[in-house]
Symmetry: C2
Subunit: 140 residues, 2 copies
């Protein structure tokens, strides 16, 4: 099957990022699209997936682009090892520790999110009660 290629404007529409932002991510070596002979950028579906992943990490985790780069590289290195690339046990242990660290970070954020959510839900509950009182008063 032939690979489909997208030009930057399509990618911009698909992802919601501006063209400037997409080029900027390339400057930071977060993505590396192919080029036509005349220099136009050509993006595959995998490139677009990666951009979506970047957006998700940015928005949900509040990661900086530098942190995202590190996380993506960790992911890639681990996948290379899993698909057969040679590695010694020390390296593997290192990656295990790094992944555990990421998971720990995510758990901390999750807990904080949960706390914030609960505070808002309490307020919501109380406001709804207040509203009910209003309605009762109207019908008396």
């Amino acid at each position: 099957m032939e690979k489909k290629y997208y030009k930057i404007e399509d990618v911009s529409i698909k992802t919601g990022l501006t063209k400037r932002a997409i080029r900027y991510y390339e400057d930071l070596n977060l993505i590396a699209p192919k080029r036509t002979d005349s220099g136009y950028r050509l993006y595959t579906d995998e490139d677009i997936d990666k951009i979506q992943k970047i957006i998700s990490l940015k928005e949900s985790l509040g990661f900086s682009l530098a942190e995202i780069k590190a996380a993506l590289e960790l992911d890639k290195n681990v996948k290379n090892i899993l698909s057969g690339e040679s590695a010694d046990i020390t390296t593997i242990d290192n990656y295990i520790d790094m992944i555990k660290e990421q998971i720990k970070l995510i758990n901390e954020k999750s807990n904080k999110l949960l706390t914030a959510k609960q505070r808002f839900e309490e307020l919501l509950l109380k406001l709804n009660k207040l509203k009910d009182q209003f309605k009762e008063a109207d019908t008396i």
Copy 2:
């Protein structure tokens, strides 16, 4: 009971923020400490709690300081209403909608965090299996 007051350096130590950042938050009207006659800032425990809340919102939700200000004001307005401040039903409905919006946002972030976490946990599992294979090979 007498209220205890802290000077900016103590607050800096307690919160981990720099004095510059603490003053900056005041510029943005996120906090409003009292002052001594000579102009020194005086922070109460409640001020410090609020700063901790700001830090938490910043780090977990990735909120900007402007967004944090809006969230804190929403929280304060709702609490004022709940403690007796007069309000009509339209206002209450408005606040209910705003809180629901916040909760929705938080849920979206939670889901993304969960996805990211699962991806890392999968990698961790696979890496641990690989490590076990290494150990078996050693003992043969």
